[in-house]
Symmetry: C2
Subunit: 428 residues, 2 copies
């Protein structure tokens, strides 16, 4: 797992090159600044838009919750198509109201600790190094917790329809960056190194422990999302991208990586981010990082209304932090029978997978739900199955609505009533 | 090729359902309008952005040309990453200065002509039908014509760096829509039907002939691009998406498809869109629709400057209208030797493919170029090879710069000079 053995390829071979990199003077990607500033539509007599706009008839937007210490945006999944989430609609949660505004020319990523050669990289340094682009989803580990099913019949106009307000803390993008393994080879890992502490340049200095084994696997230091620089909300100019793990591992505004020999159990990893487990005798489990297999029907979903009997395509998204989605089944009769849904190709690992099923609605009450099986054979559980194995604290308002805030992946039923109205049927 | 034989699956089985669809009253996707209007950042005290923004340090934008009858935008390929082009940076060419502004509730797609049941579909009707999402590139058949190499050493500040101004009329998105074959089954093709004439709702009523064989293959009526409604520039609310063909076949603001028994050689298909060929004795070739194998290095490319010797990743894009990219080779010595570049997975058919190659620059003059081979074994030609087989009219300013406006896929050399400056070396 350590990279300081000889024979490994290194990309920065000479002290001189390192010095040039560290000086932050490269012009290679300065093309951006050589292109004239984006003129505003008003500035040009013919309405030139060097950065295009949506139709004025399109108003789909993120739902949001603004708290004292949290700012949360929800992806409008009911309007989603395919597997790519546009960057402006990606979910976001920050633990402060004001986003960091980072000048990329001043920003550095410093890798230090148990390494042979501590190094600082500018954004332009990183763009010279070998890159990788992959489509991956991110998901808040608190997505679709029981408490998000606030009321089965009322949607909050601020946060959007239920599929958005319950499930909207997951989004999927094509991310581009430098494999973290490349950077760790450059700095040279010392013997005994086994964990990393990654830290953001935000006011809180968000920091999180990451096992070295994962860091050397599929983690990247991302500078682009869907073909553009990573957005400020997503960590501009640099974000650690840790595929399949709880989103907080993907540290935004990444500024430091310290190589260490143990997890730090940092402030950000404490209480809020541990999971109480029945199968561990009520103990909390730390470093429960992999997100489980999951799926949800996005259309039809609660808050929408079917105009009448007839043909409908049922469509939704499935994903697993363990790898690829292997199968999605859909039931239109509350789970009595299941049919295999069609999966949109290509099915990518640790990415959203779009599924569809043809359905002809006969006008009677129907309960629609989907069930995902991932490449390891893990099957998405029902609410009852999940509760049986995992939870210990019952919530106040429903015997099955327990206070399980994290890693909730129960099958989601949507009930279609005779008038075509669709409701959340998880707890009713 | 005809779909009115019995036994074929149809999704709209009853006159009653068709009537309901035609009435344009479905509410299924009305969720959009049930979500409150996107508040402007100013409207909310805490700066809520339901539709996110770029960093103020990012100003990459499309180059543009505004003519009397043309409005053209170029994708800034020098800033591209991965294979997805963000919708606001997708290239665009319209033959009028003002884009149609279409109310989706009023818009209909009517399919008529040699059909059993002429039908009109609203946007919401289409969203009920079986959908498909695929990543495809579009390319103007005039992209990278010889005349775009205006001057090998000067870039036009309006249209951007050379790789943008020469090659920027290609972009790649995840498109979602209804397979055209599904709609043609609904209307029922009559005997003898062999071509379609598709028409837009723009002021010019852009219309183009499409062979039925292609229509029944991989064409879709697209309503979404990269997970959002298709942008006004790209044909909101509906665009015909004809993968691999010259972009004008992908008719925007699609309003009518007439099923006919021959190509119409419409106004939009005449002179401007035919190709004069030496191998046909100087005759023009009509319906030369498939775009050829092609590639270009996007970084380093002309207008950028390498800060000094050392390691660089060479990266670029390759594509073919015939299917998948099979191989990309890169030369750093002007074509004397070639190395296989790494292709970013997944390699998708009729889509941009990102390639990369590690390179250590020794500080001497170097000529970088890429060569694409597609799944049919077609190899991207050099300028000399292309001219030998295809062109008949020499341009005035360079013996090899012939007036070949369409389907130019010659290998693009970029010359790196000793000071790190990069220039267009196609004609110098």
């Amino acid at each position: 797992m350590h990279s300081n053995r000889s024979g490994r390829r290194r990309f920065l071979k000479h002290g001189a090159v390192l010095a040039a990199l560290a000086a932050g003077t490269p012009d290679l990607a300065a093309g951006q600044s050589e292109v004239p500033d984006t003129p505003t539509p008003e500035a040009h007599p013919k309405g030139v838009l060097t950065y295009g706009e949506r139709s004025r008839f399109v108003n789909s937007g993120r739902g949001f919750k603004v708290g004292i210490s949290h700012m949360t945006y929800y992806t409008p999944l009911q309007d989603s198509a395919g597997i790519i989430t546009p960057a402006p609609l990606h979910f976001m949660q920050a633990h402060f109201a004001r986003l960091p505004e980072i000048d990329p020319e001043q920003h550095r990523l410093t890798i230090h600790g148990m390494v042979d050669r501590p190094l600082s990289f500018s954004l332009e340094d990183l763009k010279r190094l070998p890159s990788v682009s992959r489509v991956h989803y991110l998901e808040c580990h608190g997505n679709s917790s029981y408490n998000d099913h606030i009321s089965p019949r009322v949607d909050d106009p601020r946060v959007g329809l239920p599929v958005q307000s319950i499930y909207g803390l997951t989004s999927c993008s094509e991310w581009t960056g430098v494999p973290l393994s490349v950077l760790l080879k450059e700095v040279g890992l010392q013997k005994g190194a086994s964990w990393l502490i990654s830290e953001g340049a935000d006011a809180e200095k968000w920091h999180y422990s990451l096992p070295l084994e994962k860091a050397l696997d599929d983690v990247m230091v991302a500078y682009a999302q869907n073909g553009e620089p990573v957005r400020p909300e997503q960590g501009y100019p640099l974000r650690l991208l840790v595929p399949g793990f709880e989103a907080p591992y993907s540290v935004k505004w990444l500024s430091h990586i310290k190589v260490v020999d143990r997890p730090y159990m940092t402030r950000d990893e404490n209480g809020n981010h541990t999971t109480v487990r029945a199968d561990l005798g009520g103990k909390s489990r730390w470093y429960h990082w992999e997100m489980p297999q999951k799926s949800v029907i996005t259309r039809p979903s609660a808050g929408l209304k079917l105009p009448g009997p007839g043909f409908y395509e049922i469509t939704g998204l499935a994903w697993s932090g363990r790898g690829a989605v292997h199968r999605v089944e859909v039931s239109t009769d509350g789970g009595r029978s299941w049919k295999d849904a069609k999966l949109q190709a290509p099915v990518l690992r640790k990415a959203h997978t779009r599924f569809t099923l043809d359905w002809t609605w006969d006008g009677e009450e129907a309960v629609l739900q989907s069930r995902c099986t991932d490449e390891r054979g893990e099957v998405q559980p029902s609410l009852a199955e999940l509760n049986r194995h995992w939870d210990i604290i019952s919530g106040p308002d429903h015997p099955e609505k327990k206070q399980r805030p994290f890693h909730v992946n129960a099958i989601q039923p949507w009930r279609v009533e005779k008038d075509g109205s669709v409701y959340d049927a998880m707890f009713s």
